[in-house]
């Protein structure tokens, strides 16, 4: 969702002038805040998810499906319960980039009990229901990552024509009206990214070459209005060309955030989850269609990376450095560049572009090199959005300038600082759903079945991070592993399901579940989820992307020219809607599931937990009144 400061956004020119100011004060704020919270400990695990939904309107008579620009109407209603009684909400709602998107989170974070795993699905269903209730006939909340005809003619309802010469994005395809209007942040980001870059963003997705696809595939962009050949020049052969932030940020994704016990644990967790990001991306692949064309990729990641790429030509290495400080190899939306925990430092093998002044400032204030490198790397980016009222801040207390930069580095993992005036702890956000080579492998067509990924050969057991220096995690099991490479190429099937050479992540999860007290309903639910993952990884169930691709290619209207027409899109989305509603089945993608998910944990579990707490504290504090026995 991003930082939603209110107020008047500055123009790009004014914003750019303050880039260095924000950089310096952002680092200052991090240092001050860090000193206050570095020893904060949160002994209770908390975690939560954020799901973005899109709204679609179906025109059954004309077999048309359009993105419904209604977020600005229903969000205020969705947010009423939170405004009235924030401590007693089951769901929270937030706006997102596009006016056809709404983002929902659970009202309270999930906790450490196994029973909490059983709440997630029910809460997600509740959120969808709450959104759906506010829509009219033929309007539906849908969770899929990319709308297949985003950017095509009349793809929104109401319909708007793009005005490339005056709009924030200058896009030939994406009208400004599709951007969420009630908050200046999104339009401002769009405009400022383009102005900083001195060109609109250029996204080129390889098209899927089918029997009748014209070769080379190159659209005649002049039909969308002349722009002096800028789009012509930016579009590549055999690619689907897109030119707006909305193509990326208008995708619906899922993020999961975990609160760690301490900063050490957070850093450890951040690093440990990173190798899973490409695997999860491959498993959840759901975006094979872009702007009405079948693509040769299955995921949104590279599109998002290009859609928010504010780097100038100098920074991209196309022109010699004159006005900019350094060449930057990656977009600000990308996979992470470095590990941040001491245990994994040895795996940092690429040069990380950093702001040297920031680095020195951080290290001279007692921040270790690894963390300093991470922050200094984030701060190579200029601020993209500034609000008039929020420039002069108290660096001792506020963290907005820090968050300004931290939240506009969109990476596969995010390391989150605790807010000072709260008891929220150090957190880690897992963002790919939707090791760099692995990220490229993951996006290939049907990567789950066809690709191999670099993965660690041996895993230690889940030993605790009580002492972060878990030498045991890296102890070689045989004497000869010193010279051996620690990783090799494995398929997703092997990584998830194991083989005779690798234990498989699912096996480890099952072992864990077998050793904790987990109630039968939760276990039943989780087993079904694991079954789904097992089959996806093995290839016996299709990913969403593979299924969508198959649907298109076997549709009677499809002409094997990579074009996904309005009617095909309508049929596809309507089928998806019916599957979600339980009115239709799709055994290729989803097994019949009957999870036991529920909005609340069982009373027995809650009671037992409370009783145990009481008994424990009585034992630890024997001076308390001992003739009171705990209630049965």
């Amino acid at each position: 969702m991003g930082l939603l400061t209110k107020g008047q956004a500055l123009t790009w020119k004014e914003t750019q002038k303050r880039a260095q100011y924000i950089r310096e004060h952002g680092v200052e704020q991090f240092i001050n805040n860090f000193k206050k919270v570095k020893d904060r400990r949160n002994d209770c695990l908390k975690w939560g998810d954020e799901v973005e939904f899109m709204m679609v309107r179906f025109d059954h008579k004309n077999k048309k499906a359009q993105l419904l620009l209604k977020a600005h109407k229903i969000l205020p209603i969705l947010m009423e319960p939170e405004n009235e009684n924030p401590d007693d909400c089951q769901t929270f709602w937030r706006p997102e980039y596009a006016d056809y998107m709404i983002e929902g989170t659970p009202g309270k974070p999930y906790g450490h009990l196994p029973s909490h795993f059983n709440l997630v699905e029910a809460n997600m269903k509740l959120r969808r229901r709450q959104g759906q209730e506010l829509l009219d006939k033929d309007e539906y909340v849908i969770s899929t990552s990319a709308f297949p005809r985003n950017g095509c003619a009349e793809y929104t309802f109401p319909t708007y024509t793009p005005h490339p010469t005056t709009s924030a994005s200058a896009s030939l395809f994406f009208p400004d009206e599709a951007i969420f209007p009630e908050h200046p942040r999104f339009q401002t980001l769009t405009r400022n990214i383009r102005e900083r870059r001195r060109a609109k963003v250029a996204i080129n997705v390889p098209i899927f070459i089918d029997k009748n696809t014209p070769r080379p595939f190159k659209e005649d962009l002049s039909v969308y209005g002349g722009d002096n050949g800028a789009s012509e020049a930016a579009s590549l052969n055999d690619c689907i060309y897109m030119d707006a932030m909305g193509f990326g940020m208008g995708c619906c994704c899922l993020q999961v955030t975990f609160q760690a016990q301490s900063i050490e644990e957070a850093r450890f967790l951040y690093d440990q989850l990173t190798p899973l990001t490409p695997i999860m991306l491959a498993l959840s692949a759901a975006c094979p269609i872009w702007r009405g064309y079948l693509a040769d990729v299955d995921c949104r990641w590279n599109i998002l990376s290009a859609a928010t790429d504010d780097r100038t030509e100098e920074e991209r290495g196309l022109e010699p450095l004159k006005n900019n400080s350094f060449q930057i190899p990656k977009s600000r939306y990308s996979s992470i560049d470095c590990y941040i925990s001491p245990e994994s430092a040895k795996f940092n093998d690429i040069e990380v572009v950093q702001d040297k002044d920031a680095f020195h400032r951080l290290t001279s204030n007692g921040i270790d090199h690894l963390l300093a490198q991470h922050i200094a790397h984030l701060f190579i980016r200029d601020t993209l959005v500034l609000f008039e009222e929020k420039i002069e801040l108290n660096d001792e207390e506020d963290t907005e300038h820090f968050e300004n930069i931290n939240s506009t580095n969109w990476q596969s993992m995010r390391f989150k600082l605790p807010p000072v005036n709260s008891n929220i702890g150090w957190r880690v956000e897992f963002r790919p759903t939707e090791v760099d080579e692995n990220m490229q492998f993951a996006q290939q067509r049907d990567a789950v079945k066809n690709q191999k990924f670099h993965f660690r050969k041996t895993l230690a057991t889940g030993q605790t991070p009580e002492t972060p220096s878990m030498a045991s995690m890296k102890k070689p099991l045989f004497d000869n592993t010193e010279s051996d490479c620690e990783h090799r190429l494995m398929s997703v099937d092997e990584i998830i399901n194991g083989s005779d050479q690798f234990v498989g992540l699912l096996r480890i999860v099952q072992d864990y579940l077998n050793n904790i007290e987990i109630d039968a309903d939760t276990r039943c639910t989780i087993n079904q989820y694991l079954n789904l993952i097992n089959k996806r990884a093995a290839g016996t169930l299709l990913t969403n992307a593979a299924w969508m691709r198959q649907f298109v290619q076997s549709h009677s209207q499809y002409k094997h020219d990579s074009i996904v027409t309005e009617e095909i899109t309508y049929d596809l989305l309507w089928k998806m809607q019916k599957i979600s509603a339980g009115e239709d089945e799709c055994q290729l993608v989803l097994p019949r599931m009957a999870s036991k998910t529920s909005l609340d944990i069982p009373r027995a579990v809650e009671r037992a937990g409370n009783e145990l707490e009481t008994k424990r504290s009585l034992l630890l504090n024997p001076t308390q009144n001992n003739d009171k026995t705990p209630e049965d």
Partner: protein, 282 residues
């Protein structure tokens, strides 16, 4: 990679000379305590080990270590032999341990013995167990409430002394569970059922546990955790053949400790207790 491991095991076996005389000739009680099994790294790499294979693996490892270190003179005259890891951790009094006890004997006398609790608490050096789950032979199918109650009463006395904070049962279906609740002072807080049925719990049982605030938990243990011959064979591989004679595993206890509020498993271990009768020497 597993070839390497099996090769190593073979090499180890070859190195062990056959013993001329038994290690514990007078033993009639035998207790294995694995210590924190999470430290057994090599075992992490094995896939699809069930609990029987796991336990055999632990017993074998412990005996192999014993033989390698030539450290068994101490057992010559012992009648109750305890095989415990040498570097066992001493936990502080504030850790949270859950004990899962599986008994697989048909000898009903065993059910009322207290030594189970004493052994576990003593060997683990804990001040208390947060939860204990009792599993009876054949999932309690052939037992009546009268046979179960004596053991439950023992558990209740530990609860009264706050040595055990909560106790439950395993695989109890309705008539038995109801009877236990009716007769017990401390009702079971949980009934741990086999994974195979967790998605198809009988309605009656479901209703009863919900009304009485009993948690339905799950396990995936077979009815027979380790049988006589498997147990004896694993001893025979590393000891004198007389050391393996006639042992009958009486009960198995699995325990783990979890860091409170974070769901992280800190330790996991097993106790395996066996007994036998020796021919009386003149």
């Amino acid at each position: 990679m597993f070839d390497d491991q099996e090769q190593q095991q073979q090499q180890d076996n070859d190195k062990l000379e056959s013993l001329l005389s038994p290690i514990f000739p007078k033993a009639t009680s035998l207790l294995f305590h694995t210590g924190n099994a999470l430290t057994y790294f090599k075992l992490v790499r094995k896939t699809n080990m069930n609990i029987t294979e796991e336990i055999i693996e632990y017993i074998s490892t412990m005996l192999r270590t014993l033989r390698k270190n030539n450290n068994f003179k101490q057992f010559e005259n012992e009648t109750y032999v305890k095989i415990i890891p040498e570097d066992i951790n001493h936990e502080g009094s504030s850790s949270n341990a859950t004990g899962n006890s599986g008994s697989n004997t048909v000898d009903y006398e065993q059910l009322s013995r207290e030594d189970l609790k004493i052994s576990v608490l003593q060997e683990m050096k804990e001040n208390y167990l947060e939860s204990l789950l009792l599993s009876f032979p054949n999932y309690g199918a052939k037992l009546t409430i009268d046979e179960i109650l004596p053991l439950w009463n023992v558990v209740e006395s530990y609860m009264n002394n706050q040595k055990i904070l909560s106790a439950g049962v395993c695989d109890f279906m309705l008539p038995l569970l109801l009877e236990l609740c009716d007769h017990a002072k401390h009702k079971p807080y949980a009934d741990q059922i086999n994974l195979g049925v967790c998605c198809s719990i009988p309605d009656e049982l479901n209703k009863y546990v919900k009304e009485n605030d009993i948690q339905l938990l799950t396990h995936s243990d077979p009815m027979d955790i380790i049988n006589d011959s498997d147990f004896q064979n694993s001893i025979k591989n590393y000891c004198h053949e007389y050391d393996a004679l006639d042992w009958r595993p009486t009960w198995v206890a699995r325990y783990n400790s979890i860091i409170a509020n974070r769901g992280i498993i800190k330790t996991k271990g097993y106790f395996v207790y066996a007994s036998r009768e020796l021919p009386i020497k003149s």
